[in-house]
Symmetry: D2
Subunit: 119 residues, 4 copies
């Protein structure tokens, strides 16, 4: 039994089928998908716009359900763009963490929210 | 050998370590992280703002590298928010695909970019 | 002496000249301009992502200069989209305030950050 | 008769009254307002996400009404942030146009959508 299936690969394939069945590839240019992703990111943002940081940690159960659905939407569009551009998201994420480690050395960035360009 | 490790779980753990070493949890409320995610989504969007849909499918190699890094940033913040809110992203994504299948029946949505509320 | 000049009209005209001199109308579809506006809105957002609400009221002088420039960018793209779609922004703004007054009656919305659909 | 009233000043004052009557100043930190502005910018963006540039120039009448309302929302939040930070938007916009003229000299930027850093 193959247990090494990449979770994102399964979702990518489900999204391919979904778009294919609906003839939606015609709409799914990286440009349009990046717009859709930005819209979903803003729908996630909307849940937190009037609460402070502390309150944002404890959304009510109904709100958390909605937040989860927005997070899912962001992930779905991100996987779709990555698919269209032939990018491995997991690999890109690990590469970015590595890069961030060199941009934000522990001794300089500890306890600071400054951008790396200002450290 | 355990090969069933969830790829996102590894990234989540790397991000926990990263924040912990820098004492950054104090900044990482869901509210702030959702803002950061929106900013990264816009940085991704910026790459496509003046090109048309067709051209967005074929970015140059240097630009594609930058696009990859922005996609990675979006994923990293998304994983971080999900961690802070105790959400399983993969599960949420599958649930959303299922929901979308009922909101967008094949026969009604085929070839149409209309929102489900207008179908 | 004509003092009744609409301030936004002057800016609109300056932007027309600016685009015309550079042959940029070809890039300025409402779609592309709306993307650019979203990118600028996110650049404004970025200034506030790691500070809390109170601190956001008192940016340092250098940061305030940058914030001002981002606000200007948002306004410029907004005026440009309105021009391309033949919309009077001032009129639209007054109409929206009127609408908001009926959506958010004082007695129901006082002290509450709830959306009108939840009042 | 005073005809030199700045249009944005009238809107600013209407927004002050609106927030004051509802006791909403407690929610209106620049941070929260910048989030709200980003959300409205994305709602504007949403109208254009699946159409191409040409089609975005000719929205239907009902859609144009919605687009107008989203543009108004962006303007209202922008005026509100500017008020909270003591900024004159009109002045900032003119200063930005001047700056853009030096960043994008006609001879170098004509017909090009490149960022000034790449010219």
């Amino acid at each position: 039994m193959d247990v090494a299936v990449n979770d994102l690969t399964q979702i990518r394939d489900a999204l391919r089928r979904f778009a294919d069945e609906r003839d939606w590839d015609q709409f799914h240019s990286p440009k349009n998908l990046a717009m859709a992703l930005s819209v979903e990111a803003a729908e996630l943002l909307e849940h937190f716009q009037w609460v402070d940081g502390e309150a944002s940690k404890q959304p009510g159960e109904a709100e958390l359900e909605e937040i989860r659905a927005e997070m899912a939407d962001v992930l779905l569009y991100l996987i779709r763009i990555a698919d269209k551009l032939g990018t491995d998201l997991i690999e890109a994420a690990h590469a970015k963490i590595k890069l961030n480690e060199s941009k934000y050395p522990v001794d300089k960035s500890r306890g600071s929210s400054k951008k790396y360009t200002e450290l």
